[in-house]
Amino acid sequence: MYGEGRAVCLGSDVDTDRIIAGRYLRTRDRALWAAHVFEDLDPTLAPRLKGTVLMAGKNMGCGSSREQAVIALKEAGVVAVVAPSFARIFYRNAINIGLPVIECRVACKEGARVRFNLAEGWVEVDGSRCHATPLSPKMLAILQAGGLVPFWRNHQ
């Protein structure tokens, strides 16, 4: 699974309340989540996310189980999320939604070109490559199918 995008750097312990606030949850309108993503962290971020790879600090996506957080990122055009560690529900949600998540310890350079290959387990930032924690075969299969819903449909 290959992908690439421009780096956007984030801090550590970014909680799901800050990815999408509780006040926007009562809807099924995905465009609304994309429009308000990161509003409480940096209101200028949402329109700049298309084609980016988020490079967060440790414990990315901690807090509530809200899947709207990963949906919002995907809808806003985020290609993948890279972090040294993820909160487990966020990580699992991302795979289920088909948003590549890559556990890897690498320094972020704002705007740098990031390339990754999940099946091969590497991330490259401005040409320097580092190894990512491999996904389990099941997780990789779900991600390759585009998420748990299409994965399920294929396996019926």
Partner: protein, 406 residues
């Protein structure tokens, strides 16, 4: 020897397992997305409706017509599928499931991060997202990586005004917000025996604040007696020198009232350090501290007195509300000036019923104090019921004393 998680999941830490789910729980928040994913999967029926629970607690009753519309659809779905449906007012899903439903040794999965609360019964209880829940509805099972376990060993007994909530804040501080990421916690040691079920639920509830997948207590006499009061028989289990990847030790007898500040659950201080800070609101409730024992404790402090700031009390379940009503606790609280919300999450997630305004501070008995969680521009301080109670009376952060909680 195996940890409790390894025993329940039937495999050593690090392995991947597919396991049947004994209790699958969703609420009005995550249920909407789970329902959508379920329909998109093209599945017609829930595989094991007898193990499936849909509990309306997050925005209950509905605050807008949009919410009401989404809830209407979910209600309809619940009726068609024959699952257990609990409408608004039944209570917070984790509390409802703790009232004689979840048993030791079960695999409990909820589309809510605080599902770990139910580990207090010696169940493997963990939170997932909505799409995972849809797949569980469809298949009756799910996959896990069996977690390694960190032991949180309690010695001594709680003294003075300290309560289980302070012990929870202390271990979150010790481990940090990601200190147990991907791992399970086991609460062990002589100290745990002295903590009643209500307090164990509080301890397990906050396991996810350290990133843990689950937080478990071994079922002992307290567990079996508690479950027997609901007519449920259960067996005790004891640790058998389990393999822990790490162990921390906390002396309950040296604990003093604590408070989490600065928008971080692991940023924990002595309440004394913040004494005198003015408050705009006090909130007693949630899946952390909205149980009967909590409201009884609150009433003992505020009875025959008057709160100085607006104080919102939300019982965690209808059963809690019934009991505090029958015992006169409710009228004590109302006479003291507290405002009662319907059983459910109340203002905890900042969606309705008691959100904060810009610049306001709320002392809350909940489990999260993230930026803007209870309203844009508001600040949340997390503390125990005793601290909330004395602070409500004073209108400012106040250290509870032994005399207050007697």
């Amino acid at each position: 020897m195996p940890t409790l998680s390894e025993r329940i999941l039937g495999a050593p830490a690090g392995s991947y397992v597919d396991v049947p789910v004994d209790r699958a729980i969703a609420h009005d928040g995550t249920g909407v997305l789970a329902h959508q994913a379920f329909c998109e999967m093209g599945v017609r029926g829930i595989r094991r409706p007898e193990c499936t629970y849909l509990i309306f607690d997050h925005i209950a009753p509905a605050n807008t017509s949009t919410t009401a519309g989404l809830q209407r659809e979910l209600r309809q779905f619940a009726r068609e599928q024959g699952l257990t449906f609990c409408d608004i007012g039944t209570g917070i899903c984790h509390q409802v499931m703790a009232e004689g439903i979840v048993r030791p040794g079960e695999v409990v999965v909820g589309a809510d991060s605080h599902t770990c609360t139910l580990g207090a019964f010696g169940a493997f209880a963990t939170g997932v997202g909505a799409t995972d829940m849809a797949a569980i509805w469809a298949s009756g099972s799910t996959w896990f990586r069996v977690p390694e376990t960190i032991a949180v060993r309690f010695t001594g007994r709680l003294r003075g005004a300290a309560e289980a909530k302070d012990a929870a804040l202390a271990y979150v501080q010790a481990l940090g917000m990601d200190g147990a990421n991907y791992r399970a916690l086991e609460f062990v040691g002589d100290g745990i025996a002295s903590i009643p079920m209500a307090g164990r639920l509080t301890l397990c509830n906050m396991a996810v604040e350290t990133g843990a997948k689950a937080g478990l207590c071994y079922p002992d006499r307290e567990t079996t007696e508690y479950l027997a009061s609901f007519g449920v028989e259960a067996e005790m289990q004891v640790p058998d020198s389990p393999r822990y990847v790490k162990e921390i030790s906390l002396d309950l007898s040296s604990l003093t009232p604590l408070i989490a500040t600065g928008h971080r659950v692991d940023h924990v201080q002595e309440v004394a350090e913040l004494a005198g800070q003015p408050l705009d609101q006090v909130f007693v409730g949630t899946c952390t501290n909205g149980r009967y024992e909590d409201l009884l404790r609150l009433s003992r402090v505020v009875r025959d007195r008057q709160v100085k700031v607006r104080t919102i009390v939300v019982p965690a379940s209808r059963r809690v509300l019934e009991r505090i009503t029958a015992e006169g606790i409710l009228s004590d609280l109302v006479r003291a000036g507290c405002v009662l919300g319907p059983p459910g999450c109340g203002p905890c997630l900042g969606a309705h019923l008691g959100v904060l305004g810009e610049g306001e501070t709320c002392l809350s008995t909940a489990n999260r104090n993230f930026v803007n969680r209870m309203g844009v521009g508001g600040e949340i301080l997390l503390a125990s019921v005793a601290t909330a109670a004395v602070s409500a009376l004073a209108g400012e952060v106040t250290v509870p004393g032994v005399a207050d909680v007697r």
